[in-house]
Symmetry: C2
């Protein structure tokens, strides 16, 4: 199973945002929606081996984590508005310590980065890291952590360092998180064909 986790530092944690203002009122939810799309969608299919975690840290009820499970989602389209409507639905249900389903393949729980880092070991996408194209870089690395339009905060950077996340670089430019996910998938797709 491949996991992508994206931190949305200002992403709204209640359902009271408008689907017509995802970048503003919803706290750059447009970017998080594109990350879900990049994580799960092939041209005519879904990546069933992929999970996408959105860590929402905006007002008024942070932290919450929404999980999209590629093996189970249904009626999900790759456009921002559709994905945002599923996020809105997830933010409408009561939120506890354990993931609870708001729609097929979509679940939500209370908690953020530290909880996830305690469960899985992540690689962190970072311009200063080891080039993902170098041999063996992908071996043993199935979980990838990214930040939204902002950098990791000092507290997050400490948690990441404490969890011994491996830093990986994707190339010479600083890219949007959703574009970074596309590159990770491509690298894995190629490795899968080469090495089975």
């Amino acid at each position: 199973m491949i996991r992508f986790a994206i931190i949305g530092h200002v992403a709204r944690t209640s359902s009271d945002f408008s689907l017509t203002d995802l970048p503003g009122g919803a706290g750059r939810m447009d970017l998080l929606c594109r990350c879900v799309s990049a994580s799960l969608f092939l041209s005519h299919g879904i990546r069933k081996n992929t999970l996408c975690y959105l860590i929402l840290l905006g007002e008024p009820d942070a932290p919450k984590t929404i999980l999209f499970d590629g093996s189970r989602v249904h009626h999900l389209s790759p456009d921002e508005r559709n994905i945002a409507s599923h996020i809105q639905k997830a933010l409408r249900i009561p939120c506890g310590a354990i993931f609870r389903e708001s729609g097929q393949g979509i679940t939500v729980r209370r908690g953020g980065l530290e909880k996830l880092l305690a469960e899985y070991r992540f690689c962190v996408l970072d311009e200063g890291g080891r080039d993902i194209r170098r041999e063996d870089t992908l071996a043993g690395c199935e979980n990838y952590l990214l930040s939204d339009h902002g950098n990791f905060t000092p507290d997050e950077a400490d948690a990441i360092a404490g969890a011994a996340c491996i830093p990986l670089s994707l190339g010479p430019r600083v890219l949007h998180a959703d574009h970074a996910i596309v590159l990770v998938h491509n690298e894995r797709d190629r490795a899968e064909v080469l090495f089975g």
Copy 2:
């Protein structure tokens, strides 16, 4: 200058679509918007050396081509709704044989694929093509042609063959057009660093 051209086979050619239904009423305009975003946006900047052509072939007034010029666009955000609003504005102005400006860095003209193929030589992204990672594949190839969610039509395939477009492959999976653009940019970014 790098050019991406994307054919939108059902993309609406008048401005009378709703920004709340880009996949349906607007004819998969959501995908074309993501292609503009993938062509032009870095994490905190614009790719000034890149042009993105949307070839719109849907009802009621096809063909039209909208051009986004990375060196000149302003007030463009990477979210689908914002980009779609600029497309709508371009579809509102009278459309002639020559590109005419509807907003800063955004122009529109009458005409489609054949007109563009007569002006520039394109590589076409195609699963059966030569792997973009092979040495020299990028040399002399600065223009990239893609299709939306549908395949090229037989007429388009003939025009592409007639123009001697070079087929390029990006990897083992069939991807969304916007994801393909991300991969091309990454390949070029890496080559630029290696070879200046």
